[in-house]
């Protein structure tokens, strides 16, 4: 009975997935067919609150990296809860590549084996809050390291692993709200420093779940269909429904060819800008993003950047995309910039490191109920 029911459920899932796949494929194909004709200059409102380029898709050219000084920042975090406390370990590292003719000359900041930060939460909080807190602490460490490395060395492009905007939804009453506020201040400091040092600040979001690009597209699509006969066929499919069900990377994986990027768009919508005041106004309008598809069999990566003053965002996007494309097109199915691959390896925290810290605490404190492992971590039968 149970097996029959599962079989039916799976059948339904398969049917749904296949249908979705067909719809998305059809939608992408039709959109791709009209790309050459679409000129977004015809929608001046867009520039203010959405896409800031004429064309939805742009070709990216690789550039010679020789002589460039590129830094990658990544952080690691491990947390574990005990009976009365939670332990969070974080570390972050900056990897500096000075690209020469044959291989990169590599330096690390603060060190090739960065120090561990040990944080202990003594107050009872929810599991979700601990998870948010862990991510937040890692982000703080990463941004602090980014600020530090800008003082340490002259850098042309600084690539953060992840967003360059504080993404955390922190409730005002939350015990960690203050830490969120601190993170926002660090980001602002990073923007200032990058601007002062003439460094391109870039964020590389590996597995973006964002729908901002498709939302913008969804808003202008009726007008586009009206204006461009090449898109009329979109009326034959339920494009509104599809737009709601597709995230940016899913759509752009189908639309972009390798070596192409999406149009540059504003990272923050006007609504976000109004409702969230985590960063000051002077920076809100300088954050942009685009999606870059570096290789054939990997999904596009969301690239965010801080646009320098008095430079058109598309010009900055041209520079950023060329560098990122050159750094991340070496594997047909994996398109993360090499400098972030190395940073990820250096920032990884092993479970054993947490075990070492725990053992030291246990050794010094002695048997204490606060340090009891959770039941899930000490089941007598596995």
């Amino acid at each position: 009975m149970y097996i029959k029911s599962l079989h039916n459920e799976l059948g339904e899932i398969v049917r749904r997935l296949k249908q979705l796949e067909r719809d998305k494929e059809m939608f992408s194909m039709l959109l791709r067919g009209g790309l050459d004709q679409i000129d977004l200059d015809a929608f001046p409102k867009l520039k203010k609150d959405g896409i800031v380029e004429r064309k939805l898709v742009k070709k990216v050219n690789p550039t010679s990296l020789t002589g460039l000084r590129i830094a990658g920042i990544d952080g690691g975090v491990v947390s574990r809860s005990y009976h009365a406390i939670d332990i969070i370990l974080t570390k972050a590292v900056a990897v500096l590549f000075q690209i020469t003719q044959d291989k990169p000359v590599v330096r690390y900041y603060p060190a090739d084996v960065p120090p561990l930060n040990v944080l202990v939460n003594y107050i009872p909080v929810s599991r979700t809050e601990i998870e948010t807190s862990s991510s937040l602490e890692r982000a703080i460490e990463e941004v602090k390291t980014a600020i530090g490395v800008l003082d340490y060395a002259k850098i042309d492009t600084l690539i953060m692993d992840g967003s360059i905007y504080p993404q955390y939804d922190i409730f005002a009453t939350s015990t960690i709200a203050a830490r969120g506020e601190l993170l926002a201040r660090f980001y602002e400091k990073l923007y200032e420093k990058a601007r002062d040092r003439g460094t391109l600040l870039v964020g590389c979001v590996e597995d973006s779940r964002s729908t901002r690009f498709t939302q913008i597209l969804g808003e202008i699509l009726p007008s586009l269909i009206k204006k461009y006969p090449e898109l009329f066929e979109l009326l034959q499919v339920d494009y509104r429904g599809i737009i709601k069900q597709i995230k940016d990377t899913d759509l752009l994986y189908r639309v972009l060819e390798s070596g192409e990027r999406s149009a540059v768009y504003r990272l923050l919508s006007s609504n976000t800008k109004k409702s969230q005041s985590r960063i000051s106004a002077q920076f809100r309008d300088t954050l942009f993003a685009f999606y870059l598809k570096s290789v054939e069999y990997d999904q596009p990566t969301r690239i965010e950047f801080l646009n320098p003053e008095h430079v058109e965002p598309p010009k900055t996007a041209y520079r950023v995309s060329s560098v990122l494309y050159s750094l991340s097109r070496h594997h047909a199915a994996y398109s993360i910039p090499s400098v972030l691959i190395e940073a990820d390896a250096r920032a990884k925290i092993g479970e054993y490191e947490l075990e070492l810290i725990y053992a030291q605490l246990l050794n010094r404190v002695g048997q204490s109920s606060s340090l009891l492992r959770l039941r899930r971590d000490r089941r007598p039968f596995r």
Binding site: K103, L327, S338, E342, A345
Partner: protein, 501 residues
């Protein structure tokens, strides 16, 4: 002790008293440690220094772990190191096998407690190795311990008293090593204790020791006598009926008894006349005897057969008693003797006589070196096999030592092989030989056995009673001139053609 080269790590099921792993922390040398080297571990919680051998070395690098990723990145970039700092992720792991722990009294004790994770690892010092391996500074210097700056000086008694086997494929350096061994014996001073050296040289490979040359700094030629095969004569009066029986293995017990009676009569007559008898007289006596005609006929046939070898006479040449001298080498050069049977008869006679002389104390303690030993004491029957087995079993008590050299250990008598307590192996590749060595030597582990197939010329594994632990060595350069048989084939071929056209 110098700077540490590594640290013991905690790995799955290790460290234990029988194995441990270490990570190399020394970064100045590109090759800081090699397989087969000896290392020392200092533990905080256990007294004494643990000595171990490196049984394996593993180089690893996280960037090269995924075949698919390496292929992909290298297809695009040429080499991973062009885009990633691969060399920064390279590290070396080694596996160590404890040999023992040097106690405070200086003894090497069995390891019953493992080294600790975090313990520092050092290269074993020469002093430690001397102690741990049972080397003797005034012993026989065979060369250098492989990958260590330590001379391998083997104690004379430990090396020879229970006999030596030198085993390797053809061309691996057996004769070279044996020459070094002979040189060492000839270089010993009276106060170190000297022995006589007798070499049965089947191919004339050692005669160069007797060659006078400007390069003979150590005057080996003055201490070496070469006896050419055709001049060797076996003294009939010194042979018993059992000696003859060993030359003619088909002789029955009754025939031996009859022959014994005849020899008694001949000896009695010889004692009265003072004239020694020869093989013809012995044949004459057999002919005149009243033994069963069929027995007589068979026996006479055998003696005529022996007579045809032209090896027998009334006197022994050379006189072994007079020629075997302490600190000197006597080489029996048999290269001109083609018949294996004749060679086996000579070996039988020589070893019998030497052993008897030694038992009576009429010659000094000796080392008898036998080339192509599988021809003289094979697993199957051979004229010389019995006496070699006897000396292998009993020689130790009379300080008569054997050095048997062979390229086919599997064809050697297992009885003899089991009595050769010191073994020196050079390169061996035959799987049957390797299997036999693995089965017959309990001190050699699989790793060392595997290494035998890849030894370079001049590298050897010494095991058994000569050393406390099997060791790999690089054989030292010989001091004496090399034999002329090392002339290249091209030169010999050219010479032949010139002579025959």
């Amino acid at each position: 002790m110098k700077e540490p080269i590594g640290t013991v790590i905690a790995a799955r099921d290790s460290p234990t008293p029988s194995e441990f792993k270490l990570v190399i922390t020394e970064i100045e040398n590109s090759v800081p440690l090699r397989k087969g080297q000896f290392i020392a571990v200092e533990s905080a919680d256990v007294d004494g220094t643990l000595i171990a051998t490196v049984t394996n070395i593993l180089k690893t690098n996280r960037y090269f772990e995924s075949a698919e990723a390496v292929k992909e990145y290298e297809r695009s970039a040429g080499h991973l190191s062009f885009i990633l700092p691969t060399e920064r992720w390279e590290y070396i792991l080694a596996e160590g096998k404890p040999m023992g722990r040097i106690s405070q009294s200086g003894r090497l004790e069995r390891v019953t407690f493992p080294p600790g994770p975090g313990d520092k690892v050092f290269l074993a010092s020469p002093e430690m190795l001397l102690q741990v391996l049972g080397l003797d500074p005034s012993g026989v210097n065979l060369g250098q311990l492989l990958h260590h700056d330590v001379p391998v000086t083997l104690n004379l008694t430990r090396l020879f008293q229970k006999h030596v086997a030198i085993l390797a494929i053809s061309g691996a350096g057996k004769s070279y090593l044996t020459s070094v061994l002979i040189e060492e014996l000839l270089l010993r001073k009276p106060e170190q204790g000297r022995v006589a050296v007798i070499i049965l040289d089947v191919h004339g490979e050692y005669t160069s020791l007797a060659t006078t040359s400007d390069t003979d700094t150590y005057k080996f030629s003055e201490k070496t006598t070469v006896i050419n095969g055709p001049y060797i004569q076996l003294a009939v009066p010194k042979l018993t009926s059992y000696n003859f029986a060993s030359f003619q293995p088909n002789m029955s017990y009754v025939q031996i008894r009859e022959l014994n009676q005849i020899i008694k009569k001949l000896r009695s007559r010889s004692g009265k006349t003072g004239k020694p008898y020869d093989l013809n007289e012995l044949i004459g006596m057999v002919e005149q005897s009243e033994m069963n005609p069929r027995t007589k006929e068979a026996m006479m046939g055998w003696f005529y057969d022996l007579e045809n070898t032209r090896l027998f006479g009334v006197e022994e040449n050379p006189s072994l008693k007079a020629n075997i001298r302490v600190g000197e080498a006597t080489i029996f050069d048999l290269r001109e003797i083609i018949s294996l049977r004749k060679k086996q008869i000579i070996v039988n006679y020589l070893i019998n006589r030497l052993f008897n002389l030694r038992k009576r104390g009429e010659i000094p303690p000796f080392v008898f070196i036998l080339e192509e030993a599988h021809q003289f004491c094979p697993e199957g029957p051979a004229i010389s096999k019995g006496i070699i087995e006897t000396i292998a079993r009993e020689g130790r008590k009379f300080y008569a030592s054997l050095v048997l050299i062979s390229q086919r250990p599997v064809r050697l008598s297992t009885t003899v092989l089991s009595q050769l307590n010191s073994q020196i192996y050079l390169r061996i590749t035959n799987p049957y030989d390797l299997k036999l060595i693995g089965q017959s030597s309990e001190t050699i582990d699989k790793s060392s056995l595997d290494a035998l197939t890849t030894l370079n010329i001049g590298e050897a594994l010494v095991s058994g009673s000569a050393v406390s632990h099997p060791i790999f060595i690089r054989v030292r350069k010989r001091y004496s001139p090399s034999p002329s048989i090392s002339i290249p084939l091209e030169d010999v071929a050219k010479r032949y053609e010139k002579k025959n056209t």
